[in-house]
């Protein structure tokens, strides 16, 4: 079961990562933004952390049956891995 503290620290972590993303965005750079594999990898990594925090702590999959943990992890893993592969090729 989730408790109030878990929900609040999850929210804090999510907000902190979101504010951090502000600096990485192409709209933030002056002049013409350049593509960056490093930035994209960091962005996808941070998205994975955020998505998993929401799934596990807000949606309470942390205390759900094994099949649901597996299904949500599979969705996230396959999606972000596909995004990265399509980006790189």
């Amino acid at each position: 079961m989730t408790n109030e503290r878990t929900i609040t620290w999850t929210w804090l972590a999510l907000v902190a990562i979101t504010l951090g993303s502000w600096w990485l965005a192409p709209a933030h750079s002056r002049g013409v933004a350049s593509a960056s594999i490093a930035v994209t990898c960091v962005v996808l990594g941070l998205a994975a952390i955020k998505a998993r925090l929401i799934i596990r702590n807000f949606m309470e999959v942390r205390s759900a049956p094994g099949w649901l943990k597996l299904a949500t992890d599979a969705w996230l893993g396959v999606l972000l891995a596909s995004v990265l592969v399509i980006y790189l090729i």
Partner: protein, 172 residues
């Protein structure tokens, strides 16, 4: 609820993959178009939606703890944050359209469709929150499983937005 949520996640996953395929065909044009997005609006809207999820997650705990009145107040907080997200999203679209960023650009046609379909989900989420408030206010009701199911849907809207934010606003 989870069957519907998983189905929706797969459908959105499809949108994201198609977006990436088109992006990989012309990454320079997509990146240039991305630069016109207002990242500050994107960040503020993300924080608003995360906060709405905080309210709804706390509401579930209150229902379990036998405090439906506080749960209703928290659900109102979640709904108000959802409405704030919608208003800011509409303002963002207005800004982009006025600046000439329309469907004629491939990136922006994805942007309007993906954020638009997401906004429809958020609208459905607001109706769900209304149903939860009604459930808690009806004497003899307040079924915990129903509140948990509605909350799961609301968090899915948040989850999808986190991915949309990364793909449309931040990645290069």
């Amino acid at each position: 609820m989870w069957v519907m949520v998983l189905g929706d996640l797969v459908i959105f996953g499809g949108y994201f993959i198609v977006f990436m395929i088109y992006r990989s065909m012309n990454p320079t044009a997509f990146l240039a178009a991305q630069q016109h997005l207002n990242i500050t609006i994107g960040v503020v809207n993300t924080v608003i939606l995360l906060t709405s999820s905080w309210f709804v997650a706390q509401a579930v705990l209150c229902v379990r703890g036998g405090d439906p009145d506080r749960a209703v107040r928290l659900l109102w907080g979640g709904a108000a944050s959802g409405v704030a997200f919608m208003v800011l999203k509409c303002y963002e679209w207005y800004r982009e359209i006025i600046a000439g960023q329309t469907n004629s650009d491939m990136f922006y046609s994805f942007y309007y469709v993906i954020t638009g379909v997401h906004l429809v989900h958020l609208l459905i989420g607001l109706i769900v929150l209304g149903v939860l408030v009604r459930e808690l206010r009806t004497p003899g009701r307040g079924r915990v499983w129903m509140i948990e199911s509605g909350a799961t849907y609301w968090h899915m809207v948040d989850l999808l937005w986190v991915i949309i934010f990364a793909l449309l606003y931040v990645m290069r």
